[in-house]
Amino acid sequence: MLSAILSLALLLMLAPLLPGVAARTRSLLTGRRGPPVHQLYIDLWKLMRRGVVYSETTTPIFRLAPIVVAATVVIAATLVPLDRTSSVLRFSGDAVAFAYLLGLGRFLLVLGALDTGSSFEGMGASREVTFASIVELGLFFAIATLAVATQELSLSGMLGAPLGRHWAQAAPSLVMVALGLFSLLLAECARVPVDDPSTHLELTMIHEVMVLDHGGPDLALLLFAGAAKLAVFSALVVALIVPAPARSLPVALAILVAGTVGVAIAVGVVESATARLRLPTVPLYLAGAAALAGFGLVLVVR
């Protein structure tokens, strides 16, 4: 239990580093120096000290949104077996809760965006919801595949110690799930090729455009939630593809840190190698990611 709490704390502290790592990788690969790796810490610190301006047209939902978004991500993180054995919270079916916690956060984010009454934010919200409907399908395919492969219903059971055994039996489908999950990560965390975190062109953005009207600590919460989401998904992917059980807590923490940073670097590599997709082709990409996970399911159910 203690180890689970420790690793959760470590992950949350580490989270703002990951977007920096991805951005730095991308910069280096495209021949630029880029912002420092700890840029997000600086931004967060700066934003926390600022005041907030609320538009007169907004309702309390607008103020509630950042808090709920950040809270759902943190609660979702408690369900992931970060120390390779167990999570902070664990119950049968918590994998479904994980998906719906993220869904709840997204729901509030979208409501907050709509609450401003700005057409830009409405546009972003509509895109977010359209794409999310496919992302969630893929996420559930992935969860279902893991559940069938491991005969477990909680994330700790699926991704915990016995996973190594299942790799021996169901390697093809687990590879598919890992690939699908990584592709979904790019979409869910607003990265290239679905969204581009480094542009601020409203017409093409999805996630950024929804948080345009937030400022100060609210924006800081949203930025932190975004980084934490990336960290949680990275931790999921790491738990899936590094199925070795940890001998001790330091080893587990080392794997967690190295793994999540590694995923962030992979994100940066993808971002430097591919261009952002045109919006009409994004659903096809997401369907492809979902199909990968679904293919894993087909392979394991067969």
């Binding site: 093809p172 590879v175 598919m176 082709t281 659903p283 096809l284 369907a287 492809g288 199909a291 679904g294 293919f295 087909v298 392979l299 159910v301 067969r302």
Partner: protein
């Protein structure tokens, strides 16, 4: 069944979907070429034992399906200067979903088939490749895309033939390969003529002959 066969078969499925999801003809051709390489490699590993028969078949398959035909198709799109499949009869998303449905159906059907003794994946992958080949053949309007669909259909049948690799003699396999080669070659020539005649390789232009 060699353990290498499974990942290769999974990659074959991924190339199927790559053809289904892309609109750039050159990407389609690249996907079908890599499928040719996979098929050639597969004929080596599927038997477990390296015989002269298997090696010759692998070399022939790679030479024809991964090098000659793709090269020829590239020549055709360069001559016809077409890049994209602009207006498929069925959009990419629906045809992708059709492919996904084909995948599920193939695996469901294959699970009920009597065993062939060649691993659990070969038959369903062959089925799904045949089906997706048909989908591409039917839903695309560019003549080149239809040729790619035909090639994929052939590849699926070839995969199924691998279940019987030991029993179908080499002469026959060589004949099959040769026929496919000549078939696509003739199709390519026709594509070239279609382009010269209509200034476009859309098969939708071919609608003059019908019952009046």
């Amino acid at each position: 069944m060699h353990s290498l066969a499974e990942p290769i078969l999974l990659l074959v499925v991924l190339t199927d979907f790559a053809v289904l999801a892309t609109s750039r003809l050159s990407a389609c051709i690249r996907a079908i070429a890599s499928q040719g390489v996979l098929l050639g490699t597969l004929s080596l590993v599927v038997d477990g034992a390296w015989s002269i028969h298997a090696i010759a078949l692998a070399l022939g398959t790679i030479a024809i399906k991964a090098m000659l035909l793709p090269w020829f198709l590239r020549w055709a799109i360069r001559e016809a200067s077409v890049r994209r499949e602009v207006e498929p009869l069925v959009g990419y998303m629906p045809s992708f979903l059709l492919g996904a449905a084909a995948l599920v159906v193939s695996f469901a059907v294959a699970a009920r088939l009597p065993a062939t003794g060649s691993g659990p994946l070969l038959v369903p992958v062959a089925l799904v490749t045949v089906m997706i080949g048909l989908v591409v053949l039917i839903t695309r309007t560019k003549a080149i895309s239809q040729v790619v669909g035909y090639l994929m259909l052939e590849n699926g049948i070839y995969l199924f033939g691998l279940t019987q690799a030991r029993r179908v003699p080499f002469l026959v396999e060589a004949g099959v390969l040769l026929d496919v080669f000549v078939g696509v070659f003739v199709m390519g020539i026709v594509v070239f003529h279609i382009n010269r005649e209509f200034d476009s390789i859309s098969a939708t232009n071919l609608s003059e002959l019908r019952e009046s």
